[in-house]
């Protein structure tokens, strides 16, 4: 039997191909409607509640969640549940802290990206520049996750090797993103989000059926190692706790989620967004939790040979234990998760290259839409090379990307839009510290030079450092009751 599970039966191939054709169709439709930079980057602010909320959750639930999550659960038990479970508080915090502010920002200023919001808040092109740089690095890291996850899924569906699989998937992603920009992304996000929710609930119920119920699954996993079913799993306790912090607080710091908040056609449509996003994500967490544990239980009872690559937990289960139609639907859901997030990142990265960095130097590029499309292509190539070089588990590459975003965006944008004492100096310092800390700690750990103690997650530590720098510098510069320099319209946004 192949080491990598292949599920290229007629039914699964049909569902997969149908799904890809629908995505391409949405891309073509969006192309005809994308005329301006506002259309390309923020849908021209034309979308309603359900699309905003489902697209916001769908952007967060990526290949990381659908391939990497079960992989981590398979290997470490309940440890990684602290990642996915943090999103219920994470979406709530995002809505309370950012939803209104971002949408009002889009009313008073012609903002198309997060660095636009940073420049408006701090009246600083330096802050804009560093935010754009941080976003670009985060995009490359996170896109790398999607590349790897795509390779695994395409391998399963079409029986091709990992690299070819990644390239096929990326080609489709690149085509519909280049054509339709974020408009294509948001509508496919919605379509994909709906698939992911149904697929997750279905697979959760099927896992209970195959595993003989949750208690049975838990008992078999615990028999191998009781810690795996304990509250912190097989990883160090601080891994679990710092993951919870990073994903709860860092949700609002994810630009692919945050920029969706610019896009609603009416601010009153944000009302139920927190509940819809959090609820939809919670349903998808059922797959993350159940699939990895069930696969582990099956290997512990001898029903299946141990997996050499934990990232194959999801696809192996689909191939060997799931009815074809359900497998096809879940694989479509997997591709959905990867592509929706990939699209968001490509748009973010393109905005950083074509708008944010040039504007930080006082330059404006003509024909932004054309150059954004070209930048999108470049990002696909670079992130593919990055992913293949890193050779890290899908989920761990995702955590790296998440941490890079969180460290840059949480202090500067999330706290900055809710705290008038935040200064431009603090914003620049925090962005640089977050970026450097994240990369330095990650590289030092990879080459065994230095590891953050007690298993704490690098991204969480980098985010805490960036937050501490932002707050400390601002507190030194502005006493309680004092405010940083704000334009009158921005002040209204912060006080609304």
């Amino acid at each position: 039997m192949s080491e990598v599970p292949i599920l290229n039966t007629p039914i699964t191939l049909s569902i997969a191909i149908l799904y890809l054709l629908i995505c391409l169709g949405i891309g073509v439709w969006s192309y005809t409607r994308t005329k301006t930079a506002a259309d390309y980057f923020i849908t021209g602010q034309t979308i309603g509640l359900w699309i905003v909320a489902i697209a916001a959750f769908s952007a967060i639930m990526s290949g990381f969640g659908f391939v990497g999550g079960p992989g981590l659960t398979y290997k470490f038990g309940t440890s990684s549940l602290w990642i996915t479970f943090a999103q219920t508080i994470g979406f709530a915090l995002s809505w309370f802290l950012l939803a209104k502010r971002m949408r009002l920002m889009a009313e008073v200023r012609n903002v198309l990206s997060l660095p636009d919001a940073v420049a408006a808040r701090y009246r600083s092109d330096g802050a804009r520049f560093w935010m754009a740089v941080a976003l670009l690095f985060g995009v490359l890291g996170y896109l790398g996750t999607q590349v790897q996850a795509m390779g695994v899924v395409m391998q399963t569906i079409f029986g091709v090797d990992l690299v070819t699989g990644a390239l096929i998937g990326l080609a489709i992603l690149a085509v519909y993103t280049i054509m339709g920009g974020i408009l294509a992304g948001v509508y496919t996000d919605f379509f994909q989000g709906v698939i992911m929710v149904f697929a997750s609930v279905a697979i959760f119920l099927w896992c209970l059926h195959v595993g003989g119920g949750m208690t049975n699954i838990s008992q078999h996993v615990a028999a191998a190692d009781p810690k795996l079913m304990g509250p912190f799993g097989g990883m160090p306790i601080f891994a679990a706790l710092t993951w919870y912090f990073l994903f709860a607080v860092g949700n609002a710091g994810q630009p692919h989620m945050a920029t969706k908040l610019y896009m609603s056609k009416d601010i009153n449509q944000l009302k139920w967004g927190a509940f819809i996003s959090a609820g939809a994500y919670a349903l998808c967490s059922l797959l993350w939790m159940s699939l990895g544990l069930t696969m582990r239980a099956l290997t512990e009872t001898g029903a299946h040979a141990p997996l050499k690559n934990p990232d194959l937990a999801a696809t192996t289960f689909l191939m060997e234990y799931t009815p074809e139609v359900l497998a096809g639907l879940v694989l479509a859901g997997l591709m959905a998760a990867i592509m929706s997030t990939g699209n968001s990142f490509l748009n973010l990265g393109a905005a950083a290259i074509v708008r944010d960095i040039p504007q930080a130097f006082g330059k404006k590029i003509q024909n932004e839409v054309f150059w954004a499309r070209l930048a999108t292509l470049g990002l696909v190539v670079v992130s593919t090379i990055f992913a293949l070089y890193m050779k890290t588990l899908v989920a761990l590459l995702g955590v790296f990307g998440w941490g890079t975003f969180a460290a840059a965006v949480v202090p500067v944008v999330v706290i900055g839009l809710n705290w008038k004492r935040g200064t431009a100096t603090a914003a620049i310092a925090a962005t640089i510290v977050g970026l450097v800390a994240n990369f330095a700690l990650e590289i030092m750990a990879k080459y065994n030079v230095y590891k953050v103690p007690h298993g704490a997650i690098v991204g969480a530590v980098a985010t805490m450092l960036a937050i501490a720098v932002y707050l400390a510098v601002s507190i030194i510069q502005k006493k309680p009751g004092e405010e940083s320099d704000l334009d009158p319209d921005i002040k209204e946004v912060l006080e609304a």
Binding site: F85, E107, L471, P480
Partner: protein, 146 residues
């Protein structure tokens, strides 16, 4: 609290970092919860007041403290041994994580919707901000030039 929210967040953040370096994992959740509550309060406040959000902050903050420390107590009672009982499919400490810590924050999503019109964004906020609307300014500028 809100006047010193920045200072409180800074203290909570530095305390979390200290806990990491000193391996004080039992204390860490307390500072993390403090951070989350103050962070949430920053987003929910209007002109220095919390209004209807005060009660949900108390519920979530207290709920989190109880759940985290119940989880820790159950874990410490049997850290590496085979679970003796299962609650809805999971060992007791894990059940607290899954049925408590995971699901408690859904209350916040419901709260947000319930207080949206009275507290989060009001009609007068939108009217005040209309003055600054960039689209309106652009139209006015075009009609003046026209």
């Amino acid at each position: 609290m809100l006047k010193y929210s920045g200072e409180l967040l800074l203290v909570a953040t530095l305390a979390m970092l200290l806990c990491v370096w000193l391996n004080w994992w039992v204390v860490f959740p307390l500072f993390m919860i403090l951070f989350i509550v103050v962070y949430l309060a920053m987003g929910a406040e209007r002109k220095g007041k919390l209004g209807p959000v005060t009660s949900i902050l108390w519920v979530v903050g207290t709920g989190y403290v109880i759940l985290f420390y119940l989880l820790i107590a159950l874990y410490k009672a049997n850290p590496a041994g085979m679970p003796k009982t299962y609650i809805l499919g999971f060992p007791p400490a894990t059940a607290v994580l899954i049925y408590g810590i995971w699901l408690l924050p859904l209350l916040l999503g419901i709260t947000y919707a319930l207080i949206f019109d009275k507290w989060i964004i009001r009609k007068e906020d939108l009217e005040r901000l209309q003055v600054h609307s960039w689209r309106k300014k652009e139209k006015e500028s075009i009609s003046i030039k026209g």
